[in-house]
């Protein structure tokens, strides 16, 4: 029969670590280290193989959604997996290693990368035909939950230091540093006698062994141990630049503060030589001797947040409103340094590409 819808991904539902998501595309890649080794062996031919460990990487692209489907979108994924990566005691695979959230005119996309140990029983990456209407809350049923739509430019607001207006796109990049180790596994059964083991280390067998043949803690498996060693958050974006000559008489440049209009001639790029009355050039977060200055300090208002990326939540507790795109209980990004201001002049819209890095609390 020529109709074979089973070939198409739109019918499937993706599960990562047991959680279901609506995704645009996803990849799972398993690789095993292997290479021939040549010794003084009497022939140039590859007769001996060096077989190493396994690794598994996963990448997914997801939208950010508004409405019922928001529980299955990229924002839910990032908040869930960044929290898991920072949880010392409840390790669950897959482990997020990086995520980029990009918000622009066409909407928002999340690209996330994961690491797993390649163990089939981990369930890190599963493609299912789980009935979408059996997901609790029927998130994609527009007659039961709120109808779902793609989040667009009017659903986001952003602030990067002094840049508030004319922001065309903004990106947050989360990088989770990981380390991968292979240990020589201990014995699964009693090994030796306890009289040679100090009381404080009163064990004589592999404490993490299990009946799972693929458990990396068991002897004889190729699966790595994975750990998180750090997290960093940086970002970038693009804003339009507006240049107006407010000087009287006109001086044909955009370097001044217009006293009549009470605003700078250049918006989103600092073309002044002196930074105005307070001397604060707002392009980059310049430091001063003996001080640590954040983007908020540079604005002259230390209580202001230097970086803010928010999404409109129509179903917010207590009424529709703005809320942080990333859960502030997991990562608080309110302190930032602006590190890049790349002013571009072309025949089209004047733009500045900016970059920032955050303290992560």
């Amino acid at each position: 029969m020529p109709v074979r819808n089973k070939l198409y991904g739109v019918y499937k539902l993706l599960e990562l670590g047991g959680n279901k998501y609506v995704v645009e595309s996803a990849n799972r890649n398993r690789e095993m280290e292997a290479q021939p080794k040549n010794f003084v062996q009497g022939t140039a031919k590859a007769r001996i193989m060096d077989v190493g460990g396994l690794s598994e990487t996963i990448s997914v692209n997801l939208p950010i959604l508004v409405g019922g489907g928001a529980s299955l979108d990229g924002r839910a994924l990032v908040n869930t997996y960044v929290a898991r990566a920072l949880d010392e005691t409840n390790e669950t695979l897959p482990l997020i290693t990086g995520a980029t959230i990009k918000v622009g005119q066409e909407g928002a996309t999340v690209s996330a990368n994961f690491l797993s140990d390649g163990r089939p029983s981990s369930g890190a990456f599963r493609v299912t035909n789980f009935p979408i209407d059996s997901v609790p809350g029927k998130p994609l049923d527009p007659t039961y939950s709120d109808p779902t739509r793609v989040a667009r430019f009017y659903d986001f607001r952003c602030r990067i230091g002094g840049i508030i207006y004319y922001i065309m796109e903004a990106s947050i990049e989360i990088r989770v540093n990981t380390d991968k180790k292979y240990f020589i596994a201990g014995a699964e059964n009693t090994w030796g006698t306890t009289q040679f083991v100090a009381t404080a280390m009163n064990t004589n067998q592999n404490p993490l062994a299990s009946s799972d043949a693929n458990n990396p803690y068991n002897f004889g498996t190729q699966f790595p141990f994975i750990g998180v060693t750090g997290i960093q958050v940086t970002g970038s974006g693009q804003a339009a630049v507006e240049l107006s000559d407010y000087s009287v008489p006109v001086d044909y440049d955009f370097e001044d503060y217009g006293n009549t209009q009470r605003k700078w001639e250049a918006i989103n790029v600092d073309l002044s030589s002196d930074g105005g009355g307070d001397g604060n050039h707002y392009e980059l977060t310049w430091q001063r001797p003996g001080e640590v200055r954040t983007a908020a300090d540079q604005l002259g208002d230390p209580t202001a947040q230097g970086f803010l990326l928010e999404i409109w939540n129509p179903a917010k507790q207590g009424g529709a409103g703005w809320e942080a795109l990333l859960d502030t209980n997991i990562v608080d990004l309110s302190n930032a340094l602006v590190t890049k201001s790349d002013f571009r002049v072309s025949v089209g819209i004047l733009t500045v590409n900016f970059g920032f890095i955050n303290w992560v609390k």
Partner: protein, 330 residues
């Protein structure tokens, strides 16, 4: 199936589909008795066709989502766009009405907005994504549009036709100026007999078609919502990046006609081209000609010439002026 009754973005109708459409409670403003009329900057214009109205990107998107049916909406930016065509018309003193003058001036200097009022273009200023359907429309002025393209053309035995496309947005929620029939002076449509054409090196006595076009390249932009501002799905701004003025004409060939009219392309400095459409003239100082086309047929042989107007890039420079009304001297 249980139906969720309370929703912040989805407000179901009481008993959908059981009532016939068109009951009085669902009647829309100005859909019952249309008086078709249009104003440009407050002045009436007689049009043959008018299709300027709000537009919006509305589609569905599909993901790996458990099935092929459309479930996720994708609602993008909103803007105003459309076209209009009208005959060139003069009043009893031979002058173009203000509305047509404003359109022509805007096409040449697209750095200020035109306001368009109609009796039939309904608009919704709020977020479509949060109030879909047909409720809450209003008759708003299309108060921030510019001419994106203008073509004026005439041929023997025809009136002068003007075709225009507009682009823009609704900047402020201003109620439309309800356009009522008004006392309008008797006028007449201009036609081929009102026209003339010439250039420095030719009287162009065998012209059989005249056409002049203005194309303004427009780029629009939307931005993330600024802190402290209301959300909006309207385009935030638009700008004109390029202005291109071009003309074309056709000439019937006969023995004795100017043979040096076959342009091999390139600019002709010191030349000029004037297209006189009766109530206005298009004056080109430095034409940049394309190669002339001269197809051979069994019928009358017609030579086709096209040119682009080269001028000063600054809009504030009068030296680069294109359109002249009767009271203006070239």
């Amino acid at each position: 199936m249980a139906r969720k009754k309370k929703s912040s973005v989805f407000i179901p109708l009481g008993d959908p589909t059981t009532l016939s459409p068109g009951i009085n409670s669902r009647m829309e403003v100005a859909t019952g008795f249309l008086i078709r009329h249009v104003r440009i900057n407050g002045n009436a214009i007689f049009v043959e066709r008018f299709e300027v109205q709000p537009r919006q990107e509305i589609e569905a998107k599909w993901y790996i989502q458990g099935g092929p049916r459309a479930s996720i909406a994708n609602i993008g930016k909103k803007w105003v766009e459309g076209q209009m065509s009208f005959p060139l018309r003069v009043d009893r003193s031979g002058l173009l009405p203000e509305s047509i003058r404003d359109i022509l001036t805007n096409a040449e200097y697209p750095n200020e907005s035109l306001r368009i009022d109609t009796n039939h273009t309904l608009s919704y200023m709020g977020l479509t994504a949060e109030n879909g359907g047909s409720d809450d429309n209003t008759l708003l002025a299309l108060d921030d549009v510019v001419v994106r393209s203008l073509t004026i053309s005439v041929a023997p035995n025809s009136d002068i036709k003007v075709n225009i496309t507009f682009f823009g947005t609704i900047d402020a929620k201003i109620a439309g100026n309800y356009v009522t029939p008004e006392d309008t002076e008797i006028g007449r449509k201009l036609n081929w007999n009102d026209c003339d054409a010439s250039r420095y090196s030719s009287a162009m006595r065998t012209v059989s078609l005249l056409e002049f076009s203005i194309e303004n390249t427009i780029e629009d932009a939307v931005f993330l919502t600024a802190m402290g501002e209301e959300r909006s799905d309207q385009i935030k701004l638009f700008g004109v990046k390029q202005c291109k003025w071009s003309g074309k004409y056709e000439e019937i060939l006969r023995l004795g006609a100017e043979t040096e009219n076959f342009f091999h392309g390139g600019w002709k400095v010191g030349e000029n081209v004037t297209f006189d459409f009766g109530g206005l003239r298009f004056y080109t100082r430095v034409p940049l000609f394309e190669m002339t086309e001269q197809p051979l047929t069994a019928l009358m042989i017609v030579r086709k010439s096209k040119f682009i107007s080269l001028t000063s890039p600054s809009q504030s420079n009068q030296q680069g002026k294109l359109i002249y009304f009767p009271e203006e001297e070239i």
